[in-house]
Symmetry: C2
Subunit: 366 residues, 2 copies
């Protein structure tokens, strides 16, 4: 599906980038979904400065500052751009608000095919210029060896918010569209796929070293619906990305569809380099189903961070143990860090990944 | 694990019971989770009479009436007792309220090991006598050939509500207990397993012909945690059930763990006769993983009921097609019917299962 796999590229020195490409590493690299966020008191300070959440996303200097905070605190192997997946629908012309404690809200959700005409195809340099300025600012301030990960929501996941009007438990409106008006949904997903491709390519142009597609809601679909409505638009995006930087380094693509452990073989056919796993699919099971050609990211249950340090060390060790020192693994949580986590527990996690994965690697070699 | 599999039993005549035991049937039997419920206008009438939801559960005549409503309307092959999974924690002494439009609420959730002492082991004939009276009333009024399914929540699922205080998205409190105080959680689950065993045996004594364990939240656990905290208590319940009626008929046990398609082999080892599947695991995939010795129940996405009749027929045909006329299948949804479904669409579903499964069976034989 993706022909860039065969293009020549310069082997990167970053542990994270090397692991994304399945190359030899001396220990397992680690970053954490939502590592820049509310669990950090220094984040909450900046958030207060910004006013509301969307203002924080839209102020490049502040977005850069919170992106760097976890890097300053922990020995993480990658930074991830601080932003929100819903900046895309907003850039397409939809009004977006974040109600305190209630999450995102689109007061006029998409309802009918005619409303697709309302949606503009954003020029990332214009409507999403604030994100690109944040990328440049972060790139200037981030220590050179640390790669910056860019990201976007998947078309399916973005569409759920745009049609439901916000977070959903039952996905009534989008599933009604799926079964009763699939052409409307296909047309929306196609527009989103184009917008996301442009957006991620612009992030790459401005300096991100890898990109991740967040497909938070792929798991609410059955296998055929997942393939058509979630995976295929993502595969079209991946096929349209600039996968090589001018300096010859390759841009890895991470695909994370939560709750889709049953669909790994489908996901592997998308052209992505790395599959993100939640904690319900063991890494060794995924590896034996997919082989070593695709890297894996994950997959500690974020709830383990509520535990005492000793238990965190045990559980991190269990996850690392399932990979047994094999290459092609990036340690992460199976979903984002929760806001009520104690940052000291995150330090325990990161330190354990460093020490324990190095130990396992040495034992494998010995 | 369960030795009653080898006990002699009289082959039942009900299509539903035959399918649970993998016996030959001339078409696929069908019932629907939450078939007695808010989508039916006649249910909403009775609910109004009762006052609140819990009062409806606790008034045997009214609970019986709503249990029978879907049987009067549709050609369903089984009735399921109208009740709620949370009657067990209430019978154990916890205060339970249902806030209109907000779901169940325990104002004083369980917090610490010492609070386990608050929980009584209910005598089903006393604290849950209203359920057993409903079972008897239904059994008197239900046409004799139609079996009545009894049910309970699984210990893990009940514990989530008891510890979180209601529905949860992140399961913070119970997962903290799981990692930080597993003995507390184990002790709670053990108490619940005993209470559920007694409760289901009492339902069997009073006339239910099969039982289902609803494990709505098993899927939030990783594989090892699922096995220990969700599956093992259910396996202990199953081992403690009266599996043969005095007349020699066997009581099938259905186990439904939502979102656990990755754990089917574990579930099959529980001693259950039937595994309920949500719509993310194709029936043919489950059958090839588990073999024909275990029956399967499911697995249409409940959202298909939002579609037009033609699409409903197509999707029902797809589900039946994955089984290709094999025995050991009970048609159902992959989760409960949603309240905003049009009952006429349910009629289309039921009629299609009858016609299409008969047609497939004839083609297989021919």
């Amino acid at each position: 599906m993706n022909t860039t796999h065969s293009l020549p590229s310069t082997p990167p020195s970053s542990l994270f980038l090397r692991a994304c490409l399945g190359l030899e590493v001396e220990r397992t690299p680690v970053w954490l979904m939502r590592q820049a966020g509310r669990y950090l008191p220094e984040y909450r300070e900046v958030r207060k400065l910004a006013g509301d959440f969307l203002a924080l996303c839209k102020t490049p200097e502040l977005a850069a500052r919170v992106t760097l905070q976890p890097i300053e605190r922990f020995a993480l192997d990658a930074a991830i751009l601080f932003s929100d997946i819903l900046v895309i629908p907003e850039a397409m012309g939809m009004t977006l608000t974040f109600l305190e404690g209630e999450g995102p809200h689109f007061p006029t959700p998409l309802n009918r095919p005619a409303e697709l005409e309302r949606l503009v195809l954003p020029d990332p340099e214009v409507q999403l210029g604030y994100v690109l300025r944040a990328v440049r600012t972060i790139r200037q301030q981030l220590p050179a060896p640390i790669p910056l990960i860019g990201f976007s929501g998947s078309p399916w996941t973005l569409a759920t918010y745009m049609i439901e009007g916000g977070s959903s438990k039952k996905f009534t409106r989008i599933k009604t569209a799926l079964y009763d008006d699939p052409h409307f949904l296909d047309a929306l997903l196609e527009r989103l796929a184009v917008a996301v491709t442009d957006y991620l390519n612009a992030q790459i142009d401005h300096g991100v070293a890898a990109v991740q597609l967040f497909d938070t809601w792929g798991g609410v679909l059955g296998p055929d619906e997942y393939r058509h409505f979630s995976l295929e638009p993502m595969a079209r995006i991946i096929a349209g990305l600039k996968r090589l930087r001018p300096d010859g380094t390759r841009i890895p693509v991470i695909l994370f569809s939560k709750g889709c452990g049953g669909y790994l073989e489908t996901i592997a056919a998308s052209g992505c380099d790395v599959i993100g796993l939640d904690w319900t699919t063991p890494l060794d099971q995924a590896r034996s189903r997919l082989g070593p050609a695709i890297a894996l990211q994950g997959n500690l249950d974020p709830a383990v961070l509520y535990a005492q340090p000793g238990r965190i060390r045990t559980e991190v060790g269990r996850v690392l143990g399932t990979m047994g020192g094999q290459n092609g693994h990036i340690f992460n949580l199976g979903h984002g860090i929760e806001p009520n986590v104690n940052p000291e527990r995150v330090a325990v996690l990161v330190q354990t990944v460093h020490e324990e994965s190095r130990r396992i690697k040495l034992n494998v070699v010995a």
